[in-house]
């Protein structure tokens, strides 16, 4: 009797089988395979763009928004950046086998913790074409097999990328099953994937708040919660107005749709006139809407024009992902800390201050993945923080916090080398 299995289960099983071989692949073999994938992306540019054209056509026919179509498009530049990204991962140090806490116990037993792959990583993502190769290269380099599932808008592109990666791996010494792409657009595949804890060790949702909530609620395996950043900057009484203007401008406008973009500005009353003036001077010409509490409104409203509005209660604690900033005046560092504890999502929180004690208190007391002094929240990023690349940004407290690079995609095992030691 032949068992009929769903595509999701079939591919998760194949990934699990491949992961046992991949776990012991050498760094050289993994790098060679990644460089082969990067080369194949260049060689197959035409075929990939043809597949992508089908998605763009279907997207236009379905009336997708222009911004979504733009993100979906695979240009020669995107392709070159994807190949560079894969080569960049090949160039990063291999975390697998790294030893730490090594010591020899009094009884002569040599113990250490040794970094080891997690096994199989599942990734659910939306429509960006660069995500499959980004995540697959990080997984392969860290010795993990990966099961990818992309948004239906990119089905043709993803299928072509999945096949390209598998076919390329088949010509290397790595198991081709190490990269699996679920091709069906049937939603039930996602519902099934999140329950396959028998095969998948970690699930990474790369998408909006809805996807992250779904995975957090439904996944039976550990999952990275992240992607939702309600980020604050607090300009303390001693903040330098010019610096505040520049940092807030960068944090809000450099990439407003990213999770590390600024959402709320808190300003100490003593600094509010000067700081809000400097901030408004930078943000208003950039088209940012300021949603102000009463005290901020009193300072900004008269000269601000229609971009300055009264905040509603919901504006605090909102992730805008757009050129909107909530603004509130507070009377003390404590009030700011209280606000951040209440409304923050544990993502990226900044203080602007020249006061050493205030900086130290903010760093110690704010419970977030990244806490910054006099710097933009946009630095919560694997590339910026020196990890080379990232598979996700975690707001979990367990395992990994902030950007998840290669090391954060591994576990460790204890290794104990003895000569007959027994416990007394």
């Amino acid at each position: 009797m032949r068992v009929v299995r769903s595509e999701a289960r079939e591919k998760a099983m194949a990934a699990k089988a491949a992961s046992r071989e991949l776990r012991r692949a050498s760094t050289q073999a993994k790098n060679d395979a990644l460089l082969a994938i990067a080369d194949a992306l260049g060689r197959s540019a035409r075929a990939l763009m043809e597949a992508n054209a089908l998605d763009l056509e279907a997207g236009r026919a379905a009336g997708l928004e222009h911004s979504l179509l733009a993100r979906l498009e695979l240009t020669p530049e995107t392709l070159a950046a994807m190949a560079d990204g894969v080569r960049g991962v090949a160039a990063l140090p291999d975390p697998v086998g790294e030893s730490f806490d090594a010591r020899t116990l009094p009884n002569g037993l040599r113990v250490e913790r040794r970094r080891a792959p997690l096994g199989v990583i599942g990734a659910i993502f939306e429509a960006r074409p660069e995500v499959p190769t980004d995540i697959a290269s990080l997984c392969v380099k860290s010795g993990n097999a990966v099961v990818l599932r992309g948004g239906k808008e990119a089905v043709n592109t993803n299928r072509a990328l999945g096949r390209l990666m598998q076919e390329t791996l088949a010509d290397t010494s790595l198991p081709p099953g190490a990269v699996q792409m679920i091709e069906t657009t049937d939603r039930s595949a996602v519902n099934e994937l999140v329950k396959l804890d028998e095969y998948i060790d970690l699930l990474i949702p790369r998408g909006g708040a809805g996807l992250v909530r779904f995975v957090a609620a439904e996944a039976s395996m550990p999952a990275i919660t992240g992607g939702v950043g309600v980020c604050h900057a607090y300009a303390d009484a001693s903040a330098l107005p010019h610096m505040a203007g520049e940092v807030v401008f960068n944090a809000k406008t450099q990439a407003p749709a990213k999770c590390n973009a600024l959402d709320t500005l808190l300003v100490h009353a003593a600094a509010a006139p000067a700081v809000l003036g400097a901030v408004a001077e930078r943000l208003l010409p950039a088209g940012v809407e300021l949603r102000c509490d009463q005290r901020a409104l009193a300072l900004l409203g008269p000269s601000g024009g229609e971009q300055v509005k009264a905040a509603s209660g919901e504006d605090f604690g909102m992730e805008f992902l757009d050129l909107v900033l909530a603004v509130r005046v507070v009377d003390s560092l404590d009030e700011a800390l209280e606000h951040v504890a209440r409304y923050g999502s544990g993502h990226s929180e900044a203080i602007l201050t020249e006061d050493y004690g205030a900086a130290m208190r903010f760093v110690d007391e704010v419970d977030a993945a990244v806490v910054l002094v006099n710097a933009s929240t946009r630095f919560n990023d694997g590339g910026q923080l020196g990890l080379g690349a990232e598979a996700a940004i975690s707001t979990n407290k367990l395992h990994a916090r902030g950007p998840m690079g290669l090391r954060e995609l591994t576990s460790y095992k204890w290794v104990a080398l003895g000569s007959g030691q027994v416990r007394a």
Copy 2:
């Protein structure tokens, strides 16, 4: 209007409030508080033993097994060991504030990861009286508040211990709310506790497989899966029979009810006559029952007496927690690795070998928390591996693997100290 909250919610909220203060407590303040608790245990010995006597009396009346009553009993020796355990935790280095991966980026931003408490830890445990002070001391030292919930058999003992810890903390500079003991024996409190992810950051079940499964299935916050160890030792073709006998004897008999006790012995056919002979010589006089596959039975059966039996299929993959060992003869290292991958629970796995290549393959390919060469599985223990103490043994791959000491009860945050840096 007064809101009526359950005890579990009330105490989880109080722990959360205390955790914000505890997070920034100094090492000195935490150590002073732990030493005060250790002293209080000594001073209150009589009251604690009176409370314990009520539990013992109720246990006897309810017809509890002798072994359970023995574990439940608080003797002067247990109490002294508890106080020593708390003092031992005070003497361990404080993980909070430890900085790692510190570097200055090219733009001058100083970044580092800084170890920080998780927040609130929930612990559900069974009847041993030493567990509340063990876990509470590890939590407090690592800057975490803790909500404890013990087995109903120890309700009077646990209540007395919980109050003693809170009252002692009230005389220190730490928030007394840092240690919470749920006193009701109502089962619904556990059902509620595992859903309080709003307040509890990590749940640690300390008990049998039933409790661990319940927590894994029901908890809405991250939980440590562990405690269930199906542990193997594989005696390779080159294993020294005498060493194999000693290591297997220790792994099986030194503490058979612990999760790191040996469950299955695999023996290479070439070494089977000598190794099984040496093992039987040590284990049979100790009263161990050997459940053998056919080939092992052929070797051991004739002279083994009634302690040597044929294994049923279920004996492989079974955690015995008793003086029983499953035994199987295999033809190769690959067959042994296959068996361990199939039946192991990722806890503690050992190889006995004089063959360097076999040792390296076993270490690299076995996916478990602790992998040992020529040493007893009993070394999977926080004290033994140099962590000082442990709150649990994890078979999770995420966050912490193996013994969870102080560091494993923490998270980290990224700290970035700048002077106005913005992202280009």
